[in-house]
């Protein structure tokens, strides 16, 4: 069998996390609200109303366009996309067509070794062919043979972003979505929760012989709403296309729907005619003009991007890629890490270990973000210094994490108040050692008779009596002295 490669492009719809809708003051997020409660004459298409553009939508679109290395048009326009559907009360969707806010762009996608066919990590450049603002449509729902319409989602701001046919496997498509989701949250432009429809994805899939450069007829996969589902649906579609091609059949330009429960693709009714949306400039809105002052003000909020920070963590702190990847998975965690490294001043890898082993578990268990922790980066640094200086041992240190988080008090204050510090007071330990020796005449005798391995047992007894707070080295010295 000849070797095939997949050619995949992803079309994503990103729900921006603005407070209100794109063209009216209705609340944008209706996830927890009953039907038709966040609606007004504008978003339900009543006659005689005019849309007014939400400033925050433009700002978030500009941030995303900049992060995707897209050219940002100083003048862009809204257009009407005309079609009839019950979820679209105006009979048209206000979208952008030929002069959208973003032009071009790309994402350099790191493909980890585990996702690569030959287990070698590499970078895939994914081009962006479309990046525009638009309004969402409402929701229709079938129940008991009837169809109901809820307009809450009408006018919720979306960015439609489409990639070129640049992805070459289902794993690459999944990686693209993982990195896109990370970026959207990092920028603070979308919650990017696929289950809640904040990030929706359609996939265009075709195959060709490896080495060919042309494009073959593609199918479009719709209704995939998790990253695992995207990967699985694309894998199945690639296998189907190879099977069909090998059997001498042609691939037809079908639209396929992913059935999540059954894990299969179903052919949707194909359209008789190509959709004719009769786009024209939206006459109710003027041009969106982005002057330099506004653009610069927006871009001042453009943070260092996750993949850049990941590379910098490797270079600057000497972290393994694995650590850098986890620590930059989310922006507030990476900010936390850097603040802790600065406050600590010691080995950055040690800070990473504590974060990845203990603090992350704490975050996951409590469902918190790093920025929400009462255990501040300064606290963590102080705690590490207490361990380094021998004031507390590692076990106490780990237990302290939870205590600081609960109380918000500094580690040193808690150590002081609860007497958690290692006892390095010679006389206190000496008293306990004497007690232990007095209680264990048999062991003392056999130690003196040459069974020197009992030293460990003696130290253990001392530590137990002192509830682990004795400096073990000092205890050993005193034991050796008194057992001579």
């Amino acid at each position: 069998m000849p070797e095939y490669e997949a050619v995949i492009g992803l079309e994503t719809h990103i729900q921006l996390n603005t407070t209100t809708k794109i063209f009216c003051g209705c609340k944008a997020d209706s996830w927890f609200d009953p039907p038709n409660t966040n609606i007004c004459p504008v978003c339900t298409g009543l006659p005689g109303v005019l849309p007014v553009l939400n400033r925050a939508v433009v700002e978030k679109a500009v941030l995303l366009a900049a992060a995707m290395h897209a050219e940002i048009r100083p003048v862009s326009y809204f257009d009407r996309k005309n079609y009839f559907y019950p979820d679209l009360p105006k009979g048209y969707q206000i979208s952008q067509f030929d002069q959208s806010i973003g032009k071009g762009g790309y994402l350099d996608l790191p493909i980890p070794a585990a996702s690569a066919a030959d287990k070698q990590a590499y970078t895939r450049r994914v081009s962006i062919t479309k990046l525009h603002m638009e309004e969402d449509a409402g929701k229709t729902k079938n129940a008991g043979g009837r169809r109901f319409v809820d307009f809450n989602r009408c006018g919720v701001p979306l960015i439609e972003m489409v990639t070129g046919p640049d992805l070459r496997s289902a794993d690459e498509a999944a990686q693209y979505l993982i990195r896109l989701r990370q970026l959207l949250r990092w920028l603070g432009v979308s919650e990017a929760d696929m289950e809640k429809g904040h990030l929706r994805c359609d996939a265009n899939v075709s195959i060709r012989l490896k080495g060919e450069t042309g494009l073959n007829p593609k199918t479009e996969i719709k209704n995939v709403n998790s990253i695992d589902a995207v990967r699985e649906a694309i894998e199945k579609e690639i296998a189907r296309q190879i099977h069909e091609t090998e059997a001498g059949r042609k691939i037809e330009a079908w639209t396929l729907e992913w059935d999540e429960d059954a894990g299969v693709l179903r052919k949707m009714r194909s359209k008789e005619t190509e959709a004719d949306y009769r786009y024209f400039r939206e006459p109710d809105l003027l041009a969106v003009r982005l002057d330099d002052a506004w653009k610069q003000a927006i871009l001042r909020d453009l943070p260092e991007l996750p993949l850049e920070r990941r590379a910098r963590f490797v270079a600057q702190y000497g972290l393994p890629e694995y650590d850098a990847d986890i620590l930059t998975a989310e922006r507030s965690l990476s900010d936390y890490y850097e603040a802790a490294v600065k406050a600590y001043g010691g080995d950055p890898k040690k800070v990473s270990n504590w974060l990845m082993n203990d603090v992350l578990r704490m975050l996951n268990d409590a469902g918190l973000k790093a920025e929400d922790l009462k255990l501040t980066p300064a606290h963590l640094a102080e705690l590490l210094k207490l361990v380094d200086s021998g004031k507390i041992n590692i076990t106490t240190g780990k237990a302290l994490l939870g205590k600081v988080q609960e109380s918000g008090k500094s580690p040193a204050a808690i150590v002081e108040a609860e007497g958690l510090g290692l006892v390095s007071d010679d006389s206190a330990i000496r008293a306990v050692v004497e007690e232990v020796l007095a209680e264990s005449p048999a062991e003392v005798a056999s130690y003196k008779g040459g069974k020197l391995t009992l030293m460990g047992w003696f130290v253990g007894q001392v530590m137990r009596k002192m509830r682990g707070k004795a400096d073990p080295n000092l205890a050993r010295q005193i034991l050796e002295e008194l057992l001579q």
């Binding site: 209100t20 003051g25 003027l286």
Partner: protein, 95 residues
């Protein structure tokens, strides 16, 4: 410039209009006349002039991202031909 009957039928179907044979012919003539009139603009030499979307020099007014009161479901549904459970009820759609 003359529109064909097929073009009129296509335009009518895009607008979900059902036309009689007499209307199709009448609209064919009227729409053709409108297009012919507009065609005169094509005679103007526009070389070097950028496309104009609006003659208004103004920019789009922008709204601050603050919540304004919404309608109640009852208000919204007052003119609905069919409503149920605070939602519009529509005929099932066959794709």
């Amino acid at each position: 410039m003359s529109l064909t009957l097929e073009e009129v039928e296509h335009i009518a179907s895009l607008a979900r209009l059902e036309l009689t044979a007499e209307e199709k012919e009448r609209y064919r003539q009227q729409l053709s006349a409108i297009l012919d009139y507009a065609r005169r603009l094509q005679e103007v030499d526009t070389t070097g002039i950028p496309p104009t979307s609006s003659v208004l020099p103004a920019r789009s007014r922008l709204r601050e991202d603050r919540v304004e009161p919404s309608l109640t479901p009852a208000e919204l549904l007052r003119n609905a031909p069919h409503a149920e459970k605070d939602q519009f009820r529509v005929p099932p759609v066959i794709e």
